[in-house]
């Protein structure tokens, strides 16, 4: 892989990035509804609504506002949150830690549960066990994430009363380890929801399909033919080769974890950027929405570049030019 490839990919980031900006801006600004009314709130006076409209330029056409936004962005100004009045970047960055706290353990849990299950299903095929695992993965994947979240909440927070129903803390005045323990207690249900519905089924299906595909390759037959036992065939050949596509797809999917987080955070009142995105859409806080989408776009673009590079490093058949 040449450094010119990396350079070229980085340069390609720029038009991709701008395309995301333009599309996102146009879509959210074309959404119906008066942003001034949403920002001012239901109880505000009509005069205040008009003042908001003039202040934020909502009376200007969309293309004019887009040009102003891009112009500001080039000077590093991503705008102020219309609702909070502080920089949009500040509003979003404040909420990132909560989302990372939710998403990363969910990803780890998804891998820890999903990968072995997928491997087990692939190795045991064809059998009822395999069918049960794969079927269960599809069922879980089909359940709407907020329905599952509510179910867990009813079981564990209401009937069993062993876990909190939502939010991030309830020991509001605790500090140190006590505070950390309180946060972790609150993390259990949203993390389980995100992992079991969004993460585990993906990993089970990915791993299972990848191993099944690789097992059909000729080099696997060759490995058996030269006398390697099944365990060694699997460990040295099938598994390693199967992990390449799994790693690639998982990388891209991880970078768009915000999608699953939006529903989970909203159901559990978890104060991350997922619930911020949901609230900002209701409030028509365009600058905050834009910055969240920018962050998501950047993370997807960069992670896909990294996974391509790693993939090329790991697979000698691939030459990145």
């Amino acid at each position: 892989m040449s450094s010119s490839y990396v350079r070229r990919r980085l340069i390609q980031l720029v038009p991709s990035f701008f395309l995301v900006i333009v599309l996102t801006f146009v879509i959210i600004n074309l959404a119906p509804g008066d942003p001034s009314a949403a920002l001012a709130g239901e109880f505000a006076s009509p005069e205040y609504v008009v003042e908001i409209r003039k202040l934020y330029g909502f009376d200007r056409p969309v293309h004019e506002r887009l040009l102003i936004y891009i112009g500001n962005m080039l000077t590093g100004n991503l705008g102020r949150s219309y609702f909070y009045g502080v920089p949009a970047t500040q509003v979003v960055i404040e909420r990132i830690p909560a989302t990372l706290l939710l998403v990363f353990p969910s990803i780890v849990l998804s891998i820890v549960i999903g990968l072995p299950l997928g491997i087990f299903a692939a190795r045991k095929r064809p059998s009822r066990t395999t069918a049960a695992i794969v079927f269960q993965a599809y069922i879980l994947f089909s359940i709407p994430i907020f329905v599952f979240g509510l179910l867990l909440m009813i079981i564990f927070a209401v009937y069993l009363a062993i876990l909190p129903s939502g939010g991030m803390i309830s020991q509001f005045y605790a500090t140190g380890l006590e505070r950390a323990a309180d946060v972790l207690r609150h993390l259990v249900l949203p993390m389980l929801t995100l992992a079991l519905i969004w993460g585990v089924p993906q990993f089970v299906r990915l791993t299972y399909s990848a191993i099944v595909e690789v097992s059909k390759e000729e080099f696997i037959t060759t490995a058996r033919a030269i006398g390697l036992d099944e365990g060694a065939v699997f460990r040295r050949h099938a598994f390693r080769n199967a992990m390449l596509p799994v790693a690639t797809i998982a990388g891209i999917w991880i970078s768009s974890a915000i999608t699953g987080a939006v529903f989970t955070e909203t159901v559990f009142s978890w104060p991350g950027i997922g619930s911020l995105l949901f609230d900002s859409i209701l409030l028509r806080d365009y600058t905050v929405i834009m910055f969240i989408f920018i962050l998501t776009a950047i993370s997807v673009i960069i992670v896909s570049l990294i996974t391509d590079i790693i993939y090329a490093r790991l697979d000698p058949r691939i030459r990145l030019r």
Binding site: A38, F43, S45, G85, V158, I169, Y173, T266, V267, G272
Partner: protein, 590 residues
Amino acid sequence: MKKCAVVLLLLVPLILSCIPIPRLYGLEGITCAKYGGTLVEAEGLFIKSLNPVAVYDVTAANHVMNIYNNLVDLDRTWKPIPVLASSWEISSDGLIYTFHLQQNVKWHDGQPFTAADVKFTFDAIMNNETNGYNRDLLKPFFDRVEVVDDYTVKLILKEANAGFLALLADPYSRSFVILPRHIYEGTDIKTNPANDRPIGTGPFKFVEWVKGSHISLVANKEYFLGRPCADNYVMLQTTSASATSTAFETGEVVYGMASYLPLSPLDVVKYSQDPRFTVDPLPTMRLMHVAFNMRIKPFNNLLVRQAMAYALDLDKLTQMAHPPLKQGEHHIYFTGHWATNPATLQPTYDPKKAEQLLDEAGYPRGANGIRFKTKLNYDIGHSTAVLAAEVLKDMWSKVGIDLELQPLEWAVYVSSIIEGVKKNPNAFQLAIQGGAQGPDPSVWQVYFGTDQYRNIYGFSNSRVDELFNEARLTGDIEQRKTYYYEIQELILNELPRINIYPDTDYGIASSDWRNFWFQIDNWPYQDESTAYWVKGSPATAQLTTTELTTTQPGVALISAETAIAAVLAAVIVLAGVGFYISRRRKARGK
């Protein structure tokens, strides 16, 4: 008379911008039956800022009340009472207000409160360094502030204003709380970090604000009006209906206002029947009604509008859409209000009469039993309106009207209906709307004045316009009554809308806590400083408080910088592992 008119005129923007539950505090000092406990309030509204002088935020007004103080407040008869100002004199020409300030009041960081803080706050407002809303209110008549000594300050007006003290109280948006000069002087007030970590003189001290999660406060033991009853107060942000109701069930949340929460009326009924909770009705000034678009057929026909009113069993509708509220009579204005004409009752339930009127109007039943189809818009975020829409559909179907329901988000409702109908007469056919229409009836003009903002009906009556204007200019209640009585008769004659119920809020609280809210003139108020826990310590017992030693905000579990560093570290580690594996592979290849 003129002064009263000016007061009324000044109060109109305040009233129009009001939230249902403004706070009063410092009424007669705080007395507590018991002390202790953590008061956790659930709230589903979004808060912009904890500095109402810097950022206009009606929603935050209640929380601001716990941290800051005004110079004066209003008592239960709307009379100004002392808070930070212990007394005052007004010059004979009404231009100079000399305030004598409470002595030995300290800011939450221990600095003394003095007249310099008052001067700083009002200078900042007049220099447009703050939210602009408060400056616009003062600009017409306010001149300057003069400090006489540390505890005496003069607020000097350009012209007399009988409503000035009421304005200083401003219970709706708290835009005139006093700011600490030593924190804000020399900084940009609108972006000062103290707006997120406020230092006030109020009954509670700020601990932390985790955006999207909660605001936590701790009792100010040195509060000059007496320490609050609870040890701690937390506002817990919640936007999930399920999480909210579960939190009430498990006792994580002590109280909340139903209209601020994503709860349905059926939840309110459930809690009202559960001995673990008390549910107090708190009437608002929002009169929910079905609006006709009188510009278009068939609603340009009075007979149709009357028929549709006769087709509604409003008692049953209220019972189904807004339990546990029960209504008696149904007037054109709020039943029981001083300005309500008792003779102006809406048509009572009579479906036969409804059918007869619809036949007369030229809308007989078709072969399929339907007279005409129409569409009803409403705010999907308003839980009682959502239920009311279903009931309306059912009731009108019985007289042959086929109703299509089309809920809209509030922002869309405003743009497509309230403002949309000004550009497009066909913007809607029927709509459910509410909005504040009191406590003073002068605000009602926004709904019935020709071309006024909330007059989406297309109603126009020059005599009604005249009567509203005359009523605003006089302070004589009896005279005003005659004007409003006549307005209601004229409205009843044309029936541009059907009132369905007065939107009533419900305060839901754990039975273990008392003394949250009270009412003045049908207007509800809540007071966190006087709410007490029945399991707390008696007033005479030794008091202990859970108090942090610092008023710095609580440190987040993980700071943003740490989190970003952790992510970058993870990426580097992964890249390193990948690189290592590839090098090993190459080495083996050799």
